[in-house]
Symmetry: C2
Subunit: 382 residues, 2 copies
């Protein structure tokens, strides 16, 4: 049988997720247990995903994720017979590719580790909760295991068994919700998020207070807004939580600044846009970088994109400024232009990716999706 089937392969994809209640800080660096729960929106994989092929081959070797091996052992000891002719000592090849540019600042490690955990589990026949496996790679990766709206419960146990992701609402729950990623021109990031959050935990008095006294109520509130599809509440709380996360970065010593002048102009634009309309029609959130992720509803996309184009005119790539979902040219009233009251800063936003809420990890079973060739090495990219 080994000669007929020298390997078992699986190609999967996993999505990017954007936190609206932010995760920043671990209570256990080894197990990657967070100091507070968090909540994210899974982005559609048409615009942002990681694709990975896992191929387990003879003979003995190491497995990149010891946790999967442990789960697989546990599963095998629970069962009478093993349906898959697979040794835990097989060598594993992994190939990985993203469909989004690094410049987009989307957390590629989250989708990457979610994808790896998902693919390995399929190869090894693990059926249990994969939160722990994904989390051990990169904390927020566990939120990329589901589509729609996903909560990462911080848990209380020292072993982290209850620090798991669960779906709050599926991707079909709020079909009007849209996501715009505004990719900002920037110098390279000075502080990575792993080191950054560790320094914050050690030095920021405000971070501890946030985690203990602010986030629990915000989690409950945000879940309610999502379930009710209450954009006003969802949008306002999303902005407040992004701001508070960046406030704790600034309270870190030495301070961490992920927002730059363009980020701040985007924040200003959003508040002016909302003030003009007398309600929260658009909301921003920023992760560990200057790029903005904007949430809005489908009926507002065209007007807001027009406002962005007005305040941040494309420098040379007018035709490639907008990627992803089609956006029809929007109206921009003179009243709104006046209300924005900003001097245009050409070129400070590189481009916009328009997307929406999407599903969790997927299995790709057509052969051309494979990333590894018959020799077990990555196929040449075309």
């Amino acid at each position: 049988m080994a000669s007929e089937k020298p390997y078992l392969a699986m190609t999967c994809t996993a999505p990017v997720n954007i936190a609206v209640i932010k995760y920043w800080g671990k209570r256990d660096e080894e197990l990657i247990l967070p100091i507070n729960s968090s909540l994210s929106v899974t982005l559609h994989q048409d615009q942002a995903r990681c694709q990975e092929q896992v191929r387990a081959a003879l003979p003995s070797g190491y497995l990149p994720l010891p946790t999967v091996r442990r789960l697989a052992r546990k599963r095998r000891s629970d069962e009478e017979e093993d349906p898959l002719p697979l040794s835990l000592n097989y060598k594993v090849h992994v190939a990985s590719v993203n469909n989004f540019p690094t410049a987009a600042g989307l957390a590629s490690s989250a989708s990457g580790y979610a994808c790896l955990a998902y693919a390995l589990a399929r190869v090894y026949g693990v059926e249990s909760d994969l939160s722990e496996v994904a989390r051990r790679g990169s904390g927020s990766a566990c939120r990329s295991l589901y589509g729609g709206f996903v909560e990462w419960q911080m848990g209380e146990q020292a072993d982290g068994k209850d620090s798991v992701a669960r779906q709050v609402a599926p991707e079909s729950h709020w079909p009007e919700l849209r996501v715009l990623i505004l990719v900002v021109s920037a110098e390279k990031k000075l502080t990575g998020s792993t080191v950054g959050m560790q320094t914050s935990v050690e030095t920021s008095p405000l971070l501890r207070f946030r985690a203990e006294a602010v986030v629990p109520a915000r989690m409950a509130e945000m879940i309610r807004y999502v379930k009710e599809r209450n954009f006003q509440g969802f949008g306002e709380l999303t902005m407040k939580d992004s701001n508070q996360f960046h406030a704790t970065c600034l309270d870190t010593f030495p301070p961490i600044s992920y927002l730059n002048d363009t980020s701040r102009r985007i924040i200003h634009l959003v508040h002016r846009f909302n003030a003009h309309h007398g309600q929260t029609k658009v909301a921003y959130t920023f992760d560990a970088g200057p790029n903005a992720v904007i949430f809005t509803l489908d009926d507002t996309v065209a007007e807001f994109v027009a406002a962005v184009r007005h305040s941040f005119p494309p420098e040379s790539n007018g035709d490639k400024f907008l990627k992803g979902l089609p956006v029809k040219p929007g109206p921009l009233s003179d009243e709104l232009k006046a209300a924005l009251g900003m001097d245009p800063t050409p070129g400070s936003i590189k481009y916009i990716i328009a997307t929406q809420v999407g599903p969790g990890p997927q299995i790709l079973d057509h052969p051309h999706a494979h990333l590894l060739g018959p020799d077990g090495l990555p196929k040449p990219t075309v």
Copy 2:
């Protein structure tokens, strides 16, 4: 006597102060009572001061500060006879001038109201504590009533009688301490501090925590560092408190951003400079604007100014880049240049004002210091 002396005039000066433990937020908007105590360094008036002449003339009219009138009434009822032939109904003329540019971003209202309170009190013969009078004009003005290192105790009483300024150490206490004001090129400020702090009190969960749980210990710590002339402790805590103040601004909704990309480059420069030396030799603090105020000791000024010149080369005014106290051209080693690791951004710092710790309000008694002419109107400026 009234015909011989139709008016009584007094010309005074008052200094600018820079908070190292920040005041942000009032618990009483009417009485201007703060939500936390604060501590400041009084700058030398050679480089930054407000000068005012107060002239009280016949006959009845209003007095700009009702509190002074009340204190003066109290004082008169306490005494048998009045040494000054001065009616509380006299008309009062006030002229005011600063010796520092508005662009320097130094809180001109603090020195202005301190000067006014001081001059009026001299004219009216008020001898009591002037904290309340100055504070009612602009909260931090009470800290400009003293030289050296000044604490504004928040107080506990509802009427604010115990919310007073007191000197922690005189201007002669720490002669090596130097202050550099880095004036940053910037767009105009979007949020004034009065409205800003009110919004912060109403919307920032972190601000309340800071005021109640963080500042009290920091005040005690900072007073100890000042008394011990411990620059390491003083500098590090100054930076932390500036960062935390700006963090609470960012946690405000809508968020307030006073720091811009140049401010953040200065912060970065200071941390790299200190890291290179293996100790805190330089410290920054920022108020409600992008300009940095730098504290350091006299033996470090030349090298740090050279580092600033290297990272932020003057655009066209190389000869006027440095104002105030003389600074001799400093050495800048290749090791330090490499350690700074920053791309120079020409023109983003407009100029530097070098100064030091200075005394409190002064009386100017030579006639050419008068700002008002014999007709009681401001003299033409030359």
